[in-house]
Chain length 206, copies 2
Amino acid sequence: MKIKVSIVEDEPLIKDGIVNLLNSSEGFICEHTYSNAEDAILDIPNKKIDVVLMDIHLPGMSGIECVEKLKPKCPKTQFVMFTSFEETENVFQSLKVGAAGYLTKTSQSNKILDAIVDVYNGGSPMSSHIARKVVDSFASKNQNTNLQKLTKREQEILDYLSKGYRYKEISNSLFLSTDTVRTHIRNIYEKLQVNSRVEALNKVRN
Amino acid sequence: MKIKVSIVEDEPLIKDGIVNLLNSSEGFICEHTYSNAEDAILDIPNKKIDVVLMDIHLPGMSGIECVEKLKPKCPKTQFVMFTSFEETENVFQSLKVGAAGYLTKTSQSNKILDAIVDVYNGGSPMSSHIARKVVDSFASKNQNTNLQKLTKREQEILDYLSKGYRYKEISNSLFLSTDTVRTHIRNIYEKLQVNSRVEALNKVRN
DNA sequence: CAAAAAATACGCAAAAAGTGGTATTTTTTT
DNA sequence: AAAAAAATACCACTTTTTGCGTATTTTTTG
């Protein structure tokens, strides 16, 4: 089984280079290529492509937008961004909209093939620097200063609020009177400077 | 400038091995070690450690919890998890609570030193497989099937709900009657099978 | 063009949430 | 031991949300 690869790249030299590399390597096949995002969006959903190499800088629609549109239509297809330099912010954005990894255009042939096999097997090829950005973006949400203002009990009750429980349901769950629950909630709102559940949750869930 | 490293590991053989490796390598120094999470929590905040190697499986409190407690107190210190095998779920959890990367205990000496330098320089050493898990966890939030059930207008109104707006505030913002807003919200709840704002938001915000 | 979907709107009633005041007991901190 | 903070509880009142029914106009789709 060969890995079916497509490439979206406007520079013919680079595109042809990659196509040659793929078709002359064992285990890869590249039959469809596109020189802009618009064409790719129209055609890729009709082919069953395993891996798409996507240039970030394209004429017209960017490669990032292109992934954003394509990924929902082809959830099984893996997208690997193809960048000139290590453009941290762009790569980061790409991962957010559904790309699985990225490659720099200066990579050596074997690195490129490795990366394609890697995404195909469920990995995310990326530098450790980008990896850190990604890790940070979902780790930071822990030490929430607003949450720390609340007492244990208040945090517990807020947790029930976040599940959509009613006062009565909370009081039953915690064996308290509803009035006590109301008091706690009033204090929570006071501390967080809000006047409703949703606002309170927004304050603690960044 | 040497990189100051600490290690939290209950197995003396492994711990001593690492300490030896570090102190006999150029650019590293390891003066403080701990054989359990509790001791580490008490002492590490007092030292200015650059990188902590943290075993996941410790007697008593786990290494994951240990990072969770320590990271807020020492935001500049980088934590690298130290695992026996590639335990995907545990590593993933560790990253969530503040670790920057991980190492397997079977790594070769030079890989270990490389990883320490890497985190110290702002990278996140990890396999491409773990990287994918991390990427997925923050990318998935896009094609939310529940959100897709809603019409444009309904999504727009849900967006206001998510900010804690009242019916009146929403209708004023959109130049609608509050009754129309109510109807939309009723339909949103119907489609999402919920009976309150918070529940609706939970359905679309995974 | 006909049918379906989406967006608009009104009314009534009940349930839930939010506001304000007050107070006692338990736990923690100084 | 005294003071402060946290957890508990009750009452009265207002505002907001939710539930259910119905209906017209506009837009989209087959």
